[in-house]
Amino acid sequence: MIAAQKAPASARRRLRLPLAGIIGAGIVAFWVLMAIIGPYIAPHDVGALIDNDLFGRMRWGLPLGSDYLGRDVLSRILVGTRYSIGVAAAATFLAILMGGTLGMLAAVSRSAVDMVLSRFFDMLISIPSKMSALVVIAALGSSIPVLIATVAVIYTPGAFRIWRALSVNVNALDFVEVARARGEGTAYLIREEILPNILGPVLTDFGLRFVFAILLLSSLSFLGLGIQPPNADWGSLVRENINGLADGALAVVMPSFAIATLTIGINLVIDNLPGRWSSTGER
């Protein structure tokens, strides 16, 4: 019996990322750093017209060439990082905070609460997201708080559904039942029993939603309803330089490249998280 009780020495849980994860983390860290220090290291002012050529080629002093007005593309991307990442991250975070919390609450409370919340979010989800965004922004005018709030509201129902579905599965397990029989309150059930067991898939959801938010913001900017000039997020950079697309101008390629690397980087990190943070779960 004694021998049976002695399991092999517990393998210490080291947080080791596979190579793909390290690459992803590197990319994300780079862009986060740029979001913070971008405006300070930008070689030129975002609004300054410094090139006589439109869609100028890359050369010394203009490493990524110039845009459709002859402004420095590198500077504009560096400054735009803050808007792209900041607004998208804030909006996604808010969406997850609202949708996730209510989703877990619905799963744990079951019956009436679940019914009311689920139908409410079903109603929200049935409104076409881009249309409602356009209406809201047209009514309130485009500002950063309005953008964040709009995008957050648009992504809340989706987050609610995912979180609720994941929580319902965990909620059916015996350990939640044990906690319930012990007399634990809803807050404890959500915090200690449900949340730690859905972290992996939920982080994947966060990554996806963040990417969607960046794309939605970019498309809003593309329509001229996003960040207002002379500032620009990556989406607006793509839009304003769209005429250069036929020539393969860096002014349109580079912001697109920035969006692509960030989204790929985030997904690489999330797909390769170790242990119970992993999207597949450790069990």
Binding site: M1, A4, Q5, K6, A7, S10, A11, L173, D174, F175, E177, V178, A179, R180, A181, R182, G183, E184, E192, E193, P196, N197, L199, R276, E282, R283
Partner: protein, 634 residues
């Protein structure tokens, strides 16, 4: 004649989480002769399924057949290509897995799935295959063989599904059939029928079979020879009769001892009768679904159930699956509020729902679930899992809490270092000990044990039972012990209650359940438990077989729910009138229209018929003919 299967020096390795190769099957060699049923027996992790699968040249993901030779029908299995293996599997070697429900595609009709392998291998025309399947259905004792094939998996019972799996395996007339724990998930009553038709089908065809199981009593009925495995190595190989009567290896003796029921319960003084009950359940009605105007649930699970448990004693609750055993525990714990009736703790009525009970009331009733895997939060270390009830009920924090956690671990015989581990790193038995420790942390007066040993190996389960009994002796806790396994209940319970379709059929002391007269359903349950001797399966009487093959039918009203299956029923009375719960002189309550004397006489008659009808039985049944109320050896 060459053996059908010859295994030489088989070695299988598995990669663990850190990429290291562990040997899980080491140097296993054996032969299976034509027309023989050979059993692989061992605890979980002994490599029995791995060996069975390697006979088909299959290694589960993460495992690898690292060495050895498997010869099947003069072909070298391990050197065949995937394509050659595919042509072999399902045609020459068939596999019957444990979980029938998970093995059928719920979206396709049964017949199509049963004949699928014959169509893939093109061994016969579709019409011929269908005809063959229908004749197999008939042979396997399936109801309505002509029409069964048009039904879908969810429309038939678990026992029938398991037989359909066997039909699927037999349809191509394979040379070798591998059964992997085919009856483990079934009730004892269902198991009888399935075992019988399996054995008949194999023997009549002269097929060769490998039967994988952890249950020695079942294997004793099925196998000609038994291979005892432990940790991937063979402990003993011998003919079944020798394994049972003259085991050579120590491990086989351990297995036999664990399978042999032994009384563990503390012998207590009769003075306990005066002590007040710790829990009293009065006329509980509970169920699921919408409630009608009188608060009666649409699907009633428990119907008028009452019980009482005195401090430091154990009440066992037995019944087939669907009898309402777990629902009873959930009602007492407040997880499922009862529609009617009352639960009293130390004479005080408890609110129906856990949410409305006080913290102290909650503390006194703890519940331990069957599935140790899902009962522990996988994201929290053991120390925190055990620490929470200490903090919640007793306000312990910091060092005092840590010390108490260590004490609790000590109580369930686990090292204190376990506190840092996560549930995923523990074995099934260890997890169940942690579950128990968590319940103990509350310092309860009553623990509801819901099938706590059912998912464990015999030896591990026996250790848990011993622990339960020791803890009861030390701490004076009362248990409500739910199980579908009579021998487990017999081992640790003072009183036993038999539930059928949510009605109490019999309720009495452990001793009373060993005495005639018994309720017809109790009689059925007792005679359905496989005995550890050869020939038990063949010796089962027709009456038992008939009763065993029926499923639970829920009846509305207060009439007897066992009516459809009962061999002693009185039509026009049992199915119409409310059935009285009578106090019998042996000290048990029995719900039956038949009186005590009637039951004694009928049982005696039945035994007499059985013996005269079966002169071939040499071993005397433990309850002989015409002796009326006497002890049944169980």
């Amino acid at each position: 004649m060459a053996p059908v299967v010859k295994v030489e020096g088989l070695r299988v390795t598995a990669r663990d989480g850190r990429g290291q190769q562990n040997v899980i099957v080491n140097d296993v060699s054996f032969e299976v002769n034509s027309g023989e049923i050979i059993a692989l027996i061992g605890e979980s992790g002994s490599g029995k399924t791995t060996i069975a699968l390697s006979l088909m040249g299959y290694a589960r993901s993460g495992t690898r057949i690292a060495g050895g030779k498997v010869t099947f029908d003069r072909r070298e299995i391990l050197s065949l290509t995937q394509r050659e293996l595919s042509s072999l599997r399902g045609r020459d070697i068939a596999y019957v897995p444990q979980s029938a429900a998970a093995s059928f595609n719920p979206a396709k009709p049964l017949l199509k799935q049963v004949i699928e392998s014959s169509q893939i291998h093109r061994v016969m025309a579709p019409a011929e295959a269908r005809a063959k399947a229908v004749s197999l259905f008939r042979e396997l004792g399936l109801p309505n063989p002509e029409l069964l094939g048009t039904r879908f998996p969810h429309q038939v019972s678990g026992g029938q599904l398991q037989r359909l799996l066997a039909a699927m395996a037999l349809v191509t007339d394979p040379k070798l059939i591998i059964f992997d724990e085919p009856t483990t998930a079934l009730d004892v009553t269902t198991q009888i029928e399935v075992l019988r038709v399996f054995k008949k089908a194999i023997k009549e065809r002269g097929r060769t079979a490998v039967y994988v199981s952890h249950d020695l009593a079942v294997v004793a009925q099925m196998a000609d020879r038994i291979i005892v495995l432990r940790d991937g190595a063979i402990q003993e190989v011998n003919a079944t009769q020798y394994i049972l009567t003259a085991p050579k290896s120590d491990y086989t003796r351990t297995l036999l001892a664990a399978a042999e029921p032994q009384a563990r319960a503390v012998t207590r003084q009769a003075s306990g009768t005066a002590a007040a009950s710790v829990i009293e359940v009065k006329n509980i009605v509970a169920g699921y679904g919408a409630r009608d105007r009188e608060g009666f649930p649409a699907v009633p699970i428990l119907r008028d159930v009452s019980l009482a448990i005195r401090p430091g004693t154990t009440l066992g609750v037995i019944g087939e699956s669907g009898s309402g055993k777990s629902t009873l525990a959930r009602v007492i714990a407040g997880l499922l509020p009862a529609a009617r009736g009352e639960v009293q703790l130390n004479g005080v009525a408890l609110p129906k729902s856990a949410a409305a009970r006080t913290r102290d009331q909650l503390r006194r009733i703890q519940i331990v679930f069957q599935m140790a895997d899902t009962a522990l939060n996988p994201a929290r270390p053991i120390g925190r899992i055990l620490g929470r009830p200490l903090e919640f009920y007793h306000g312990l924090r910091g060092a005092r809490r840590a010390r108490r956690v260590a004490e609790l671990l000590e109580m369930v015989r686990l090292p204190a270092t376990m506190a840092e581990r996560y549930p995923g790193e523990l074995s099934g038995g260890q997890k169940q000990r942690i579950n128990l420790a968590r319940a103990l942390a509350a310092e309860p007066s009553l623990i509801l044990c819901d099938e706590v040993t059912s998912a464990l190996d015999t030896v591990v389960g026996a250790a848990i039972l011993d622990l339960l009994v020791e803890l009861q002796r030390e701490l004076g806790i009362a248990y409500l012990f739910i199980s579908h396994d009579l021998s487990t209940v017999k081992a640790i319970c003072d009183e036993v209650m038999i539930l059928y379709a949510g009605q109490i059929m019999e309720h009495g002391t452990r001793g009373a359940l060993c005495q005639r007269p018994l309720h017809p359903y109790s009689e059925l349950l007792i005679s359905s438990v496989p005995e550890l001797r050869q020939g038990w399966l063949e010796g089962i009487s027709e009456t038992v077989l008939k009763e065993a093959s029926g499923g639970i039918v829920r009846r509305a009203g207060a009439a007897c729910s066992f009516f459809e299956r009962c061999s002693l029923r009185i039509p026009g009375r049992c199915d119409v009138e409310p059935t009285p719960l009578r106090r019998f002189s042996k000290g048990a309550d029995i719900r039956c229209q038949r009186t005590e004397t009637e039951l004694i006489e009928l049982a005696a008659q039945r035994d007499a018929n059985e013996i005269s009808g079966r002169p071939e039985i040499s071993e005397p049944r433990d309850f002989g003919p015409g002796r009326g109320a006497q002890l049944i050896a169980w």
